[in-house]
Amino acid sequence: MPIPLGILAAAGFRPSAAGAYDLLESTVLTGNQLSVSFTNLATKYAATYQHLQLRVVTRDTFTGGDGSTVLMRFNGDSGNNYSFHFLEGNGSSVLSKNGVSTSRIIFQQSSNGNWSADVIDILDPFETTKNKTTRILCGAPTVPYVGLLSGNWRNTAQITSILLQTEGFNLAQGSRFSLYGIRSA
């Protein structure tokens, strides 16, 4: 027997006062373009937020097949200072891949008019005692692809910028990139 539920967040609903998860910035592309950047992050957010999360829905403009990748870099660093590891399913088998001492962290996106999504956690981005760790849940269901990814940036500097750039054709109009902060206690 279905149980229809109403929605609490009607007019007048009041969430708890002490929130720890805030939308910081969001970009929805109004045209096709190569990349998206979030900048001046330490200046704006280091005093308040402990962790960052990116929520992304994207595709590129290629129409001859499905599937390409997006790279992520920090602070404009294009040197071989990153590593990544994948655990991924392609609809027939589970694979594990890695990149050691690479120039970027990468994740899958869709093409051919189809959309993909990612939730990217960037832990302790503003700590100067740690190299930086990322964790990605990535899904491109029409490829088909689902992946759990970890990434590492070997640098203890505060993260001041995040670059997301397609490694295929341009990021398509309508792609969305939202940055959230998780507050310090």
Binding site: I3, G6, I7, S16, R55, N114, G139, P141, L148
Partner: protein
């Protein structure tokens, strides 16, 4: 505040289906969380949107059981939050991305953990550009057990 609790229910009786309705287009993403008590196995946890029962959903999954891995993909009449092979307690989360955007088919990312069965990651597509106003969760066999908590969150 960008992560808002919209609705929560803890089942006072076993149920094969739970529906969240009248979802406003106020948020960017929705998150569904199921924390289920042990009970009769439910096989698959399904998600349907806006009462669409057509074969307009596709999924790809990745699963580990402790002794083997597998991946499957299919087009079917519902999205999938997880496969529950046994009777142990389990937890599933589904991230319904850009749920109210009318320029996209909808992508759903899910993770599932089963105390004695498996760990999974899943990606689904609902091939429809309509804004999602109703989310229905259902079991393939048997019911969500008494005491199961199911919650819906909005992310700004």
């Amino acid at each position: 505040m960008s992560y808002i609790a919209l609705a929560t229910t803890t089942l006072g009786s076993a149920a094969s289906s739970v529906t969240f309705s009248s979802i406003p287009a106020t948020y960017r993403d929705l998150i569904v969380v199921i924390d289920a008590k042990s009970g009769a196995g439910v096989a698959t946890i399904g998600l349907r949107f806006n009462s669409d029962t057509g074969n307009n959903y596709s999924y790809v999954d990745m699963s580990g059981t402790g002794s083997s891995t597998s991946s499957s993909a299919n087009t079917q009449d519902r999205a999938t939050m997880g496969f529950v092979p046994g009777t142990s307690a389990y937890m599933s989360t589904a991230q319904i991305m850009d749920y109210a955007q009318t320029d996209k088919h909808k992508t759903v990312l899910a993770r599932h953990s089963n105390a004695s069965g498996n760990v999974q990651a899943l990606a689904n597509r609902w091939a429809n550009t309509n804004a999602i106003t109703t989310v229905n969760l259902s079991t393939a066999v048997n019911n969500f057990p008494i005491g199961t908590t199911i919650s819906l969150y909005g992310v700004a």
